[in-house]
Symmetry: C2
Subunit: 346 residues, 2 copies
């Protein structure tokens, strides 16, 4: 079956591009000499995570515990959850998961690690812990090398937890002094740091320079307009698309497609996506279930019922709205995958 | 169980507020004299649709066929789908649905209605059709009263379709000439128009003035910051909230909660939500799975593990990210509902 014959809107991944992106990033990291621990937030799909591990990723990264649970259930192992897991329900779930798989988490406070230890210790479970450093993200993370060392020491004394090192977010050149001083203090205090987790797509080389032992790259797998628009946008590298149908041609310069904010995302900038068949068309607006397209620059005469392939602006957020992902090669459908990590908000 | 004991983030509806909103809108429409056909896009939850029908709504509105299917499966009937349903898979699904329930759709082109008739006619199924008018929305809709009449005539001649009237989007005072002229032309041509569908929350009175026979109000059910921020924001009227946990207190003026773009939405304006317990806190940023909160104006000293109730900015989009809705009264959980319409993009 061809992707143009799908009921729409339908989320589709082009397997040739996906495989090339996975291969290219694996080769890039190998050439730099930094191991990859792919971030699965972009696709949330076990089948793709397995392709990435088969291509050499040493494990995976899941932003939420619920995503880690579905990835583990699908057979994946060695999972980093770079999140402060807080509260009794999560400590219990983590404990169960850690009895089945190799799990590492991050923490930036005594409250977080003490909460985990209270459950994991008595359960006889164990997770690795990385101290998260706020290296300029102004999100989570300890604020100083001294605070990192103090938290590291506390982790060493808690049952059910194994100090594994540190994690930076983000990995920028400015992070170097913070990182180096933290590692010095860890060494002085006799604290282990086999893992220095960094990265993110595009930051592989700088992560290596910073001394990171792994990169959590994720968005490279699909590529997309958001990430590449500030470099050079090359549609031939973008693996994800939404097949839409033209449902209205109200005027000669405007068409309406059957995907809007609840199929794509509502966040600008314009254009909201790139129509592969008609690059000169511009998706200038999104209402809840309709996409508004300016076709005044197109010579093509659009008709109701036509199928279009739209490369979305925000690949990770689009994946979070769909239950299924159609895997296709040269437009022919090879498989339909469940996006099992979708909606795992907890 | 109290909502503060939920694993987080958790989507919660306050039943007292929900019931009051449903009651108030029903009373408002009754006092104006315009029947309500509630739009379910805001909640996507059959249990709430049933409460609205029990309060007097004469039927429901679903923006996508897939939402109509789940509402029908849950026992709801008399469903308007104000969308051009295009393509063979949708015509087949519509035909099946129309053999079970009373269904009305909209159309703005011959291609749409001919496509439906080709399937419905031979199947012996029938749906009502409203001609959609573009009364300033610059989305779908015919562009002139004459085009509306011509399409109405065509619908009269097609099997499986019953012309029911017209639909306006949006319903503003400027729409009056277009509407009146269309109805004149319908009368001259002997075309029926028992239904003139208009409305949307806040447009009930103007819809009545325009001569509409029903209002498709939806967002009133939850209320929310988006709709009420340009009037007066009254948290006590907002029924939806996300219970979040403070997972990090990295600095004295910033806390991080465990809900971000994939729990709420990524679209500004700031603030991204209203924290009921601490109205002076400001959710100024959202990363993918974290919410960034400025607490510099709070006297309260926040701690990791604290639960907070956040009224979201975009209630309909938040509902589209969660599988479950916790129904609570005075903070105590009464039921957990499946958001069955969520993700029904087709």
């Amino acid at each position: 079956m061809h992707i143009y014959d799908l009921d729409t809107p339908a989320l589709v991944v082009d397997l040739d591009i996906l495989e090339a992106n996975i291969r290219d990033m694996a080769a890039h990291c190998a050439s730099i000499g930094i191991p990859l621990r792919v971030h699965t937030k972009t696709h949330k799909t076990p089948e793709i995570a397995k392709m990435q591990v088969a291509a050499g990723s040493q494990g995976i990264t899941c932003q939420k515990l619920g995503e880690a649970e579905v990835m583990a259930a699908a057979g994946l192992d060695d999972i980093l959850i770079p999140f402060n897991l807080v509260g009794l329900p999560k400590a219990r779930r983590l404990s169960r998961l850690a009895q089945l798989k190799r799990i590492t988490v991050t923490a930036d406070s005594l409250a977080t690690v003490e909460g985990l230890a209270q459950q994991l210790g008595p359960d006889g479970a164990n997770v690795g812990v990385l101290v998260e450093l706020d290296t300029g993200g102004q999100r989570c993370g300890v604020q100083s090398p001294e605070a990192a060392r103090d938290l590291g020491r506390a982790i060493m004394d808690l049952p059910g937890l194994t100090l594994k090192g540190i994690l930076t977010y983000p990995s920028r050149p400015e992070a170097k002094p913070f990182l180096e001083r933290t590692l010095e203090l860890f060494d002085e205090a006799g604290l282990p740091h086999p893992v220095v987790s960094g990265g993110g797509t595009g930051a592989e080389a700088i992560s290596k320079e910073l001394g990171c032992t792994e990169t959590r790259s994720g968005s490279y797998v699909y590529e997309g307009m958001t990430r590449v628009s500030y470099n050079d946008f090359r549609p031939e590298r973008c693996a994800l698309r939404v097949i839409c149908t033209v449902v209205s041609v109200p005027t000669h310069d405007r068409i309406i497609i059957d995907g809007g904010q609840k199929t794509f995302e509502s966040y600008p900038p314009v254009p909201y996506g790139h129509i592969i068949e008609h690059p000169e068309a511009c998706i200038y607006g999104m209402s809840v279930e309709h996409g508004h397209v300016d076709v005044s620059q197109c010579t093509h005469s659009f008709r109701v019922g036509e199928a279009l392939s739209v490369i979305p602006l925000h690949q990770g957020k689009v994946s979070n709205m769909h239950d299924e992902l159609v895997a296709a090669r040269n437009g022919e459908i090879e498989a339909i995958w469940q996006i099992r990590g979708r909606g795992r908000v907890r």
